[in-house]
C-alpha cells in the first residue's frame, strides 16, 4: 500500500513536472522594435534595435546591474583596474561555451578587444575606449586570465565593458556565435527577428536550473506606436519598453497593473539656436541667437512646469542641466530649473535693445522677432512641446513657427546645411558617466550641436568648458572630476547654449503574464534581467 502511495506520488510529481516543462517549452516572449537592427555585429552596434539584439544575445565580461547600478561579474569572475587607470586584468569563468559549442577563453577576449579597437572598424563602442591615439595591448596569461592595456588612462574603464559583447576568435559562425542567453535563429528583414534560447548559456539559477527561463524571444519590427499599444492590450506582445505620457495614462486608466513609472530618466528634451557663423541666416538673426541675454529670455519665457504637466501628463520634470537628477552622483544639486518669468525675460531682452511694441517684440534695427524651430515629425510629445513654446513666446511678442521634418531631413539640416534657426530635440543618454558626452561639449566636436567643429572655441565660456572636460577626462580622481563636471553644468545653466526643458520619466507597460519584470530607469528598462523573466502558463498556452 505504502509503495503504491509512493509510486502514485512520484507519478503525479512527474506529470506535474512534465506539464510545467511543456508549458515552459512553448513559451515565447514577444515585444516590438521600433526599427530594423542595422547590424548584428555586436562590435558595430549604434542604434537601439541592434543594441536590443546585442543585449539579448551578447555575453559580456561584466554587467551593470540596471537596478543597483553596480557592476556584477558575468564572464569575468573578477577584475582589477591598475592605479594609472590604463589597464585592466580579468579572471575569466571556466567551462563556458559559445552558442555553437566553441569553447570560450582569454583568446576570445583578446580577439574581441583587438577587433573593437581597430581604427578601421569605426566602432562606437570602441570609440568610447579611445581617450588617445595608440594601440591596445592584450596580454593573455593562461586560458582564463587576460590583461588589457590602453595607451592612456580611461575614466570609468571597467563600466565600459558592459557594452562589449565577446565574439569568438575561432567559431566559423563568427559574430553569430554568442555567449548571451539567446542566439539569433531567424531574421525576416523588416518583419521580425526570432531569438532562441542558447543551450550553452553558462548561467544557472539557485536551484541549478539553466537560464533563461523563456525559450524564445520574437521581436516584431513595428514603427507605429498606436499599433504597438493595441497589440499589447490584446496580449499579442508582452511589454513596451518605453511609453509616452499619453499612452501611459490611457493604459493606467484601463489596466493600472500594466503601467509602470520608474521615475525620472536620464533623457532630456532641449532646444537650441543655430550659432554656426556660416549658417544661411540673416545677420540680425545670428546676432539675436548669439546673445546670452536673448537665450536666457527665451528660456525664462518657457513654462517648463506646464510642459511637464500638459505634454507629459505629469510624467516629466523641468530640466536643469545636461545631467538628469536621476544621475544622482554627477548631477549638480545646487542648480534649479529656470523659472518661468516674463518680466525677467523682457528685462534681459531690454538689455540687448529689444522692445515690445503693440504686442510685437522688435530688435534695435526694428526687425520683428520671429524664428522657426524644427523638430522631428511623428513625435507627438515634441510637436506638442513646440506648440506650447509657441504660445509661451507669443506672450513676449515673439512669433515662433513650428516646422516638423522627418528625421533624416532634420539631421541633414543640423549637421550639414545648417539651414535652420532653432531645433527642438531630445538627448538619449545611456551612460551615467558624463565623460560619454565629451563629443557634445568639446567645441571642436561634430556633435557640439549649436556650433560644431570649431577650429578654436568661439567664446570664452566654450573655451572654459573645453578645458574642464579635458581635465576631467584625464583625471582618475573622482572628486576633481565631479568639481569639473559641476562647473560645466553651471556654465551651461548660465549661458544656455542648450535650453533644457524637461527630463522625462521612464514609462513602460508590462502585461500581467510577464513575471519577474522590475522596470528601471536605465536602458533596457524592462528586460534588463531577461534571463530571470518568466511567462505565465496562460500566455505560454496561447502561443
Amino acid at each position: 500500500m505504502r509503495r503504491r502511495l509512493i509510486l502514485s506520488f512520484l507519478l503525479i510529481a512527474l506529470l506535474v513536472n512534465a506539464a510545467a516543462v511543456r508549458a515552459q517549452a512553448g513559451n515565447q516572449l514577444r515585444f516590438c522594435l521600433g526599427s530594423e537592427p542595422k547590424t548584428f555585429d555586436p562590435l558595430l552596434v549604434a542604434d537601439d534595435a541592434s543594441e536590443t539584439v546585442r543585449y539579448l544575445t551578447g555575453g559580456v565580461l561584466m554587467r551593470l546591474n540596471r537596478r543597483s547600478q553596480q557592476l556584477e561579474p558575468e564572464l569575468a569572475t573578477s577584475w582589477r583596474v591598475t592605479q594609472k587607470g590604463n589597464a585592466i586584468t580579468f579572471m575569466l569563468r571556466e567551462n563556458v561555451r559559445f552558442s555553437d559549442g566553441t569553447s570560450f577563453s582569454a583568446e576570445d577576449v583578446a580577439y574581441t578587444m583587438q577587433r573593437l579597437m581597430d581604427p578601421a572598424l569605426h566602432s562606437p563602442t570602441g570609440d568610447s575606449f579611445r581617450s588617445s591615439d595608440g594601440k591596445v595591448l592584450t596580454q593573455v596569461a593562461g586560458k582564463n586570465r587576460i590583461t588589457i592595456t590602453f595607451s592612456a588612462p580611461i575614466v570609468g574603464l571597467d563600466k565600459l565593458f558592459d557594452q562589449v559583447a565577446i565574439v569568438s576568435a575561432r567559431s566559423p559562425q563568427k559574430e553569430r556565435a554568442v555567449l548571451g542567453p539567446y542566439y539569433l535563429a531567424e531574421n525576416k528583414a523588416g518583419s521580425y527577428l526570432l531569438l532562441k534560447r542558447n543551450s550553452n548559456y553558462w548561467k544557472h539559477d539557485a536551484a541549478g536550473r539553466q537560464l533563461p527561463y523563456i525559450d524564445s524571444v520574437r521581436l516584431d519590427i513595428q514603427q507605429n506606436r498606436d499599433i504597438e499599444m493595441l497589440r499589447l492590450t490584446r496580449g499579442e506582445i508582452d511589454f513596451i519598453n518605453s511609453l509616452n505620457g499619453e499612452y501611459f495614462d490611457k493604459l493606467a486608466a484601463r489596466a493600472p497593473q500594466m503601467a509602470f513609472d520608474a521615475g525620472v530618466s536620464l533623457d532630456s528634451e532641449e532646444m537650441w539656436f543655430n550659432l554656426v557663423p556660416t549658417a544661411p541666416l540673416p545677420d540680425y538673426k545670428k546676432a539675436w541667437f548669439a546673445s546670452t541675454n536673448f537665450r536666457r529670455a527665451i528660456s525664462a519665457s518657457i513654462h517648463r512646469d506646464d510642459l511637464a504637466r500638459v505634454v507629459f501628463r505629469g510624467h516629466a520634470r523641468p530640466a536643469v542641466s545636461w545631467i538628469s537628477p536621476a544621475n544622482q552622483f554627477w548631477f549638480n544639486q545646487r542648480l534649479r530649473p529656470h523659472a518661468f518669468d516674463r518680466n525677467v525675460a523682457l528685462q534681459a531682452l531690454g538689455q540687448d535693445g529689444f522692445r515690445l511694441q503693440n504686442g510685437v517684440l522688435r530688435d534695435r534695427g526694428g526687425h520683428a522677432v520671429e524664428f522657426s524651430v524644427i523638430t522631428n515629425a511623428g513625435n507627438k510629445d515634441r510637436e506638442r512641446m513646440a506648440t506650447m513654446i509657441q504660445q509661451d513666446l507669443g506672450g513676449i511678442g515673439i512669433r515662433l513657427n513650428v516646422v516638423t521634418l522627418d528625421f533624416p531631413s532634420l539631421i541633414e539640416r543640423i549637421t550639414r546645411s545648417f539651414n535652420y534657426e532653432a531645433c527642438l530635440l531630445g538627448l538619449v543618454n545611456d551612460d551615467l558617466d558624463p565623460n560619454a558626452q565629451m563629443n557634445v561639449w568639446l567645441s571642436s566636436a561634430e556633435n557640439h550641436q549649436w556650433n560644431p567643429s570649431q577650429k578654436a572655441p568661439a567664446t570664452a565660456w566654450e573655451a572654459e568648458i573645453d578645458g574642464l572636460m579635458r581635465a576631467q577626462a584625464a583625471s582618475l580622481d573622482v572628486k576633481k572630476r565631479k568639481q569639473a563636471i559641476d562647473r560645466v553644468q553651471q556654465i551651461v545653466w548660465e549661458q544656455e547654449p542648450f535650453i533644457y526643458l524637461v527630463n522625462k520619466d521612464a514609462l513602460s507597460a508590462i502585461s500581467a503574464g510577464l513575471h519577474n519584470a522590475h522596470p528601471v530607469v536605465l536602458r533596457p528598462q524592462v528586460y534588463w534581467n531577461i534571463d530571470q523573466l518568466t511567462l505565465g502558463t496562460e500566455v505560454a498556452r496561447n502561443r
Binding site: 530594423e36 542595422k38 547590424t39 549604434a46 542604434d47 581604427p119 569605426h122 566602432s123 562606437p124 563602442t125 570609440d127 568610447s128 579611445r130 525576416k188 528583414a189 523588416g190 518583419s191 516584431d220 513595428q222 514603427q223 507605429n224 498606436d226 499599433i227 493595441l230 490584446r234 521634418l405 522627418d406 528625421f407 533624416p408 531631413s409 532634420l410 539631421i411 541633414e412 539640416r413 549637421t415 550639414r416 560619454a436 558626452q437 565629451m438 563629443n439 557634445v440 566636436a445 561634430e446 556633435n447
Partner: protein, 286 residues
C-alpha cells in the same frame, strides 16, 4: 505582332524613364545619405567622417543608374542598405504576400463592384442602386489608411481593405457604363422583342461595355497596388507595399528604384494587356 513590339518598346522606354526619375527623386530628397547614427556622441571624429563617407557612395546619379542597369542585366538587383539584404531576396520573400493581397482585393472589388452594378442596372432596382451607390460613395470618401486602421482595431483581415478600396471605383464606373449601354437602341429593341434579362446582358450589353471594362481592369490593378502600401504598413503585412514604405523612410536608393520599376512594369503590363484585349473588340464594334 507589330502592335506587340510597339507596346514592348513603349514599355521599355517608360520603364527606363520611370526608374531614372525615381532614382533622381530619391537622390535629391532632403536627408538622402544621412544617418541618425551621426548624432551618437560616442563616435570619434574619424568614425563620424567614415560614417558620412559610407553614405555618399552614390553621389553621381548618372553613374549610379548606369551601374544599376549593368548589374540588373546580370540578374543583380542590388543591395538594400536599410534592410541589409539583397534586393532580389527581399522581393522574392515579399512579392507573394502582395500578390495574395492584391489578388484577393481585386477579386473582392470586382465581384462586388461589377456584381452590384449589374444587379442594380439589369434588375432596375432603385433600392439596390441607391444602397450600393451610398456604400460605394462612403467607401470612396474613406482613405485606405483609415480603413486599414479600422480593420486593425477590429482585428479583421487587412487584405479585405484592398477589396474595399477597389470596389467603389469598379462599381461607379461599371454602373455608369452599364446604364449607358442598356439605353442603346439595339438593347431596347432586344428588350422590346421580349428577350430575357440574362440574354440581353450577355449578348447585347456586355459586348458593348467589355472594352471599357478591360481598360478599367488595368486601372484597378494600379489602384490595388497603390492601396497595398498603407494597408500593408498599418496591418503589418510583410509585402511589397510595406517594403516600399520602409525603403522611402530610409532613403534606400537601390530598393526604391527596383520598386519603382516593378510598380511601373506592373502598371504598364496591366494597361497594355487591357488595351491589347480591348482593341480588337472595339474594332469589331466598328
Amino acid at each position: 505582332m507589330r502592335k506587340l513590339v510597339k507596346h514592348a518598346g513603349r514599355m521599355v522606354i517608360v520603364l527606363l524613364l520611370g526608374g531614372f526619375l525615381g532614382a533622381t527623386l530619391v537622390r535629391i530628397a532632403p536627408g538622402y545619405g544621412v544617418d541618425e547614427e551621426e548624432l551618437d556622441s560616442r563616435l570619434s571624429q574619424e568614425s563620424l567622417q567614415a560614417l558620412r563617407q559610407s553614405q555618399v557612395h552614390d553621389r553621381n546619379l548618372a553613374s549610379f543608374y548606369l551601374r544599376y542597369w549593368a548589374q540588373l542585366l546580370h540578374g543583380n538587383f542590388g543591395f538594400s542598405v536599410a534592410l541589409h539584404e539583397p534586393v532580389r531576396q527581399l522581393l522574392a520573400e515579399r512579392f507573394p504576400e502582395t500578390l495574395k493581397s492584391i489578388g484577393m482585393g481585386l477579386a473582392i472589388g470586382w465581384m462586388f463592384g461589377l456584381g452590384l452594378a449589374t444587379t442594380a442596372v439589369m434588375a432596375r432596382s432603385s433600392v439596390i442602386d441607391v444602397g450600393a451607390s451610398l456604400l460605394a460613395t462612403i467607401l470612396l470618401c474613406i482613405p485606405a489608411a483609415v480603413l486599414a486602421l479600422l480593420f486593425v482595431i477590429a482585428q479583421a483581415p487587412g487584405r479585405l481593405v484592398i477589396g474595399l478600396v477597389v470596389f467603389p471605383k469598379i462599381f461607379h464606373y461599371a454602373r455608369n457604363l452599364l446604364v449607358r449601354s442598356v439605353a442603346l437602341p439595339h438593347v431596347l429593341t432586344a428588350r422590346a422583342k421580349g428577350l430575357g434579362g440574362l440574354r440581353v446582358f450577355v449578348w447585347h450589353v456586355l459586348p458593348v461595355a467589355a472594352p471599357q471594362l478591360f481598360a478599367l481592369a488595368g486601372v484597378s490593378v494600379c489602384i490595388a497596388f497603390a492601396a497595398a502600401i498603407p494597408v500593408e504598413v498599418l496591418c503589418d503585412l510583410p509585402g511589397i507595399g510595406q517594403l516600399a514604405w520602409k525603403a522611402a523612410l530610409s532613403r534606400d536608393l537601390e530598393l526604391l528604384v527596383n520598386l519603382t520599376m516593378i510598380v511601373t512594369l506592373i502598371t504598364l503590363l496591366a494597361n497594355s494587356a487591357a488595351e491589347l484585349v480591348a482593341q480588337p473588340m472595339r474594332a469589331g464594334e466598328v
